[in-house]
């Protein structure tokens, strides 16, 4: 092992250092929450920058760990998202009720990130499983982090129970795969290109396990409950980072490992996509709690993401990553505004947003743009993301699916507009008062907003992603 090896693994190695710091700080410095938050954010910022330094492609540990330019990009997307989550959670972490627990929060959060990086970098299904569990188990803790709330406890328990089942199913699938191939080394499996009924079952079990994390219908039922019960930063993390990691992993496995058997996974994903979009939309229609609302909205978005899988080639992968990036930023912006509101007032119902624009025009505008981005309205980035996803599906001749998807996009526009309506149109005697946001919060929103506004127009980004495939 050389320095170069360490550098190739810089995402994981440096993250470990950061986790160590949290552990130590949590043990020693219990009193100064603010300093802890600041140091963590500063540290993570540097860490995030380090992630952007280019490195060579390599397979380490006998192929257990793989890193290449694409994976670096995926990790960077996740780490930027996590950075934004950290920024947004600063106010929450600093609040007095978390006396002495901020370290634990960061510790668990960063551990899950670590798990996700392993999922992405996995060259072996064993590694993937390890990463998956590392990414899941602490999340259950995070979900019930607000231990004084019953809902939070409930969220954690629900998540754990269902995720345990899902990972058992995934494992069962893996075990079948092992039986077929005799190895879990991904590259070897890809070379063998076998086909059998058992193989199909294995793939479906695998997809279901990851589909659970991705909240695909009918594996999604935990989502809304957990999103609603968890503390807001955790919900944010769920909806963007955790989902992103699952999506990326699914993509890497399906496109890289099972690239010769695409027909085996396309039809299940087709079905799941339709179900996810429709059911997610139908549930989202009448939600009043913003967190729950965003939960269903994110379910729907996951359904859209599956459209990219219809294309087996570069277009498919590119549009998936591209869309995830845009979806992440848009969703983070929505959550950013929401977290400011929740921090200041503790209100998270849609009705509380009535008349929001009159008191907080800037935040209202950010919310508007990010909701439009989620809905896929130009000129913000969401339009491009969706359009390209649809292009990917259409390139495979799936026009019916595209049509269903676009209709669903229209329905989703309906409920996004409900939020817009609440903020801009509805009148309110006692609107949320004008809120002063902190530097961290502004920074978080600034990053998201820049992304939302610029990504669509900077076509180089899309081309860059495509170049990595």
């Amino acid at each position: 092992m050389t320095w170069n090896t360490l550098f190739i693994m810089r995402h994981e190695v440096l993250l470990t250092l950061l986790i160590m710091y949290e552990l130590l700080a949590d043990l020693s410095d219990e009193t100064n929450r603010t300093r802890m938050v600041n140091v963590t954010i500063a540290g993570f910022f540097l860490y995030m920058l380090a992630g952007f330094v280019p490195s060579e492609n390599a397979a380490l540990f006998g192929g257990m760990y793989v890193n290449d330019e694409l994976r670096v990009l995926l990790k960077n997307i996740l780490s930027v998202s996590t950075f934004i989550v950290l920024l947004q959670s600063s106010g929450w972490a600093k609040s007095p009720i978390h006396q002495g627990r901020a370290g634990a929060f960061y510790l668990t959060l960063l551990s899950t990130l670590m798990g996700m990086f392993f999922m992405i970098s996995a060259g072996d299904f064993l590694m993937l499983y390890l990463g998956l569990e590392l990414a899941t188990l602490p999340l259950a803790l995070l979900a019930s982090f607000d231990k004084e709330f019953r809902r939070s406890a409930e969220a954690g328990a629900k998540l754990l129970m269902s995720s345990a089942v899902s990972s058992a199913v995934l494992l069962f699938g893996l075990s079948l795969m092992y039986g077929i191939y005799g190895t879990l080394q991904m590259e070897d499996i890809a070379q063998m290109n076998l086909n059998s009924d058992i193989h199909t079952i294995a793939i479906i079990f695998f997809i279901s396990g990851l589909g659970f994390k991705l909240s695909l219908v009918p594996f999604h039922l935990w989502t809304a409950d957990v999103y609603e019960g968890s503390p807001l930063p955790v919900t944010t993390y769920f909806s963007v980072v955790s989902k992103g990691a699952a999506l990326f992993t699914l993509m890497l496995v399906l496109y890289r490992v099972f690239r010769y058997q695409p027909e085996e996974w396309r039809m299940p994903l087709y079905t799941l996509s339709v179900l996810t979009m429709v059911v997610g939309n139908l549930f989202a229609l009448r939600q009043k709690n913003m967190k729950r609302f965003l939960a269903f909205s994110s379910i729907t978005q996951a359904g859209f993401m599956l459209l990219g899988f219809m294309n087996f080639g570069r277009i498919g992968m590119t549009t998936i990553v591209y869309f995830m990036l845009i979806y992440g930023l848009s969703n983070l912006a929505v959550f950013g505004v929401l977290s400011i509101i929740v921090r200041a007032t503790g209100k998270e119902s849609m009705d509380d947003l009535n008349g929001f624009y009159s008191t907080n025009p800037r935040l209202g505008l950010v919310m508007l743009l990010s909701l439009f981005s989620l809905a896929g309205i130009p000129p913000v980035a969401g339009f491009f993301g969706k359009f390209f996803l649809f292009t990917a599906a259409a390139s495979a001749g799936m026009y019916i699916l595209v049509f269903i998807a676009v209709l669903n996009a229209t329905i989703s526009l309906y409920y996004y507009l409900l939020v817009v309506k609440a903020m801009f149109i509805n009148k309110n005697e006692t609107p949320i008062p004008s809120i002063q946001s902190t530097f961290y919060e502004k920074l978080a929103i600034g990053i998201c907003l820049t992304g939302i506004l610029a990504i669509g127009f900077v076509s180089q980004l899309y081309e860059y992603i495509q170049g990595l495939m």
């Binding site: 089942v165 079990f205 059911v279 549930f283 229609l285 009448r286």
Partner: protein, 635 residues
């Protein structure tokens, strides 16, 4: 010959309209009136000049040619179907120019007195200018589409002038009715134009009406319900003409149109616009005569029926303007009959000549009648015959001129009406005896109701007037006198040399066999009127009672209005429009809403899936996996 100056005939009234319309109230009322009148005077002079040059420069024996004074491309549909705006001068349009400008000038002068002090005086003159412009544009049209354009403009000026007293609901209703009925007719006109132009490929009158041109000489083409396309087209076009000329059953707007100021009635609804239908048929006469003789028969029947029908109604009306309106209907019926019974070229074209001759004389004497009636109304402040009587003492000039007009329309020699009507009867006699008989009868009825009117106004009992009626100012009596003179002498214009179907002069002869009976029947009519209305007596009431069925029906204009109201209000509004509106709200829009509501309802229904029980979640998860597996394996 240079006719380029004729462009001024169109430009001046348009300019005057724009000027008066834009300056509106900022211009002093008198000034506006004078400005409008002056411009019209100039136009009149120019028209006479044009007539003088045209008729003076041509040779009646060889026939007067057609001159295109100007022709600008206005809009091109295709390479051949193009709308030009131009000026076509031939004997027909020159004759119309003279009539229109003359009557219009008289009306302009007359209105200076009649409308004095009215609110919106400037507006009135602006509209008059607009009307004059449109009407002149119509008659000088070089192609059928230009004619249609101005046809519509004439319609709208008529609308604006009928509704001049816009605060009066009846005027608003009348103007609306006039516009919509004529618009309906224009739809026919338009369809006719479309059909004609596509079977012929041109809009130009020159090409259309040339007897040797491709249009007339081409074979009739395919038949539809036994008639050729050309015939159908010509019938549709006649529908437009019938609307404008208020032929039965499209006549209902005209009596109502009397809601407008009386000079307007004189100008538009007696002398000029309503004869546009006659002009239209005359303009396209070669096609009618040679390619669509069936259409011509239809025209004669409708004309004949209208003239009888309107004459009967006129006998019962009490509003003097309405009597005149029905009389106008009746007289236009005469003109239509004449066209209907005419042939093309030479002697056969007698009806054509007679029709236009009658148009010419009718313009003068009917304008005179209306203006006279206006003068009376101006004095009495009422339209109703029952409020009048014995006015001869108070209004001598009006009386005399009115009497002249009545005698003229009754067709007594040597007044102009006699000549023109006589020619029509001759033409009818030679063509169709039944029509002749009807027209002969109508001549008698005409004499009767005109003198009924005359006696009731100027003789009979004298009611108690609140203010003693007085003679109208000179601005009004001057036009009356002028028109009276014109009515007397217009019959001596040698029409058979000037305005004929093929442009060539022909000889007419005096038919004693036709003339004498017509004079006789007129005298009988006058005599009857004298007996019944000269002095107040019981005879009219008794007569009315003895034929009460017919009388009541005629008094109610044979209930045509009611039928129309039933069709519009009862059928179109209630049975089409209202259901359409309902259908749109509840079915079409309802479907859209239903889609939305169903989605929301579905959302409520499936919420049980999210039961909050983690074991159910796991159950769904597991069954999802299994179903998916099953699906893939069975595939």
């Amino acid at each position: 010959m240079d006719f380029s100056f004729t462009i001024l005939i169109l430009a001046l009234p348009l300019f005057s309209f724009a000027l008066l319309g834009l300056t509106s109230k900022s211009l002093k009322a008198d000034l506006a009136g004078y400005a409008g009148t002056t411009s019209l005077l100039v136009i009149t002079v120019l028209s006479y000049l044009a007539a003088w040059r045209y008729f003076g420069g041509g040779d009646a024996e060889a026939g007067f040619g057609t001159t295109i004074a100007m022709n600008y491309l206005w809009l091109n549909f295709t390479d051949t179907l193009q709308i030009h705006i131009g000026i076509l001068l031939d004997s027909l349009s020159i004759m119309m120019l003279v009539v229109i400008t003359t009557v219009s000038l008289m009306v302009h002068i007359y209105s200076l007195g009649y409308m004095k002090g009215e609110k919106g005086f400037q507006r009135y003159y602006a509209f008059l200018s607009l009307f004059t412009f449109s009407m002149l544009g119509l008659v000088v049209a070089t192609n059928i589409f230009q004619m249609y354009i101005f046809w519509e403009l004439v319609g709208v000026s008529s609308y604006l002038l009928i509704g001049f007293y816009y605060e009066r609901p009846s005027a608003v209703a009348a103007s609306k009715k006039a516009f919509i009925v004529t618009r309906f007719a224009d739809l026919g006109f338009l369809i006719g134009i479309l059909m004609l132009s596509f079977s012929t490929g041109t809009f130009d009158f020159d090409a259309l009406t040339s007897p040797t041109g491709p249009v007339i000489s081409q074979p009739a083409g395919s038949l539809f319900m036994g008639l050729s396309v050309t015939t159908w087209a010509m019938l549709f076009i006649f529908m437009g003409g019938a609307g404008k000329s208020a032929m039965f059953p499209l006549h209902i707007w005209l009596p109502d149109a009397m809601e407008g100021p009386t000079p307007v009635s004189a100008l538009i609804h007696a002398a000029t616009m309503v004869v546009a239908g006659v002009y239209l048929v005359a303009r396209l006469f070669p096609i009618y005569a040679m390619s669509a003789p069936e259409a011509l028969d239809v025209i004669s029947y409708i004309g004949s029926f209208t003239s009888l029908f309107a004459a009967v109604i006129a006998c019962t009306q009490l509003d003097i303007k309405r009597v005149l309106a029905y009389s106008t209907l009746s007289q236009i019926g005469y003109m239509m009959v004449a066209l209907g019974v005419s042939g093309y070229g030479g002697e056969a074209g007698l009806g054509y000549m007679a029709s236009l001759f009658h148009l010419f004389t009718h313009a003068f004497f009917k304008a005179l009648l209306f203006l006279g009636a206006g003068s009376v109304i101006h004095a009495v402040h009422s339209n109703m015959m029952t409020d009048m009587g014995g006015l001869r003492k108070y209004m001598p000039v009006t009386h005399v001129t009115f009497l002249i007009a009545c005698l003229t329309i009754a067709g007594l020699p040597p007044l102009s009406g006699f000549f023109s009507k006589d020619e029509i009867l001759v033409a009818a006699f030679e063509h169709n005896k039944i029509i002749f008989a009807v027209q002969w009868l109508v001549a008698g009825i005409t004499a009767f109701y005109m003198f009924r009117l005359y006696f009731n106004i100027f003789w009979n009992r004298t009611p108690e007037y609140h203010h003693a009626p007085h003679e109208s100012p000179v601005t009004m009596t001057l036009p009356l006198s002028f028109l009276a003179v014109a009515s007397v002498f217009a019959g001596f214009v040698p029409f058979h040399e000037l305005v004929t179907s093929d442009g060539k002069a022909f000889e007419t002869s005096f038919h004693v066999l036709v003339a004498l009976p017509s004079i006789a029947v007129a005298l009988v009519g006058i005599g009857l009127a004298y007996i019944m209305y000269f002095k107040q007596n019981e005879r009219p009431t008794k007569l009315a009672a003895s034929i009460s069925g017919i009388y009541t029906a005629a008094f109610h204009k044979f209930y045509i209005d009611e039928i129309y109201i039933f069709i519009t209000k009862g059928i179109i509004f209630q049975f089409i429009s209202r259901p359409v509106a309902w259908f749109d709200r509840h079915i079409v829009d309802g479907t859209m809403n239903l889609i939305g509501n169903t989605t929301v309802a579905a959302s409520v229904v499936i919420r049980r899936l999210q039961s909050g029980k983690v074991q159910l979640y796991i159950w769904f998860f597991a069954s999802g996996v299994l179903l998916l597996t099953l699906y893939m394996l069975l595939q």
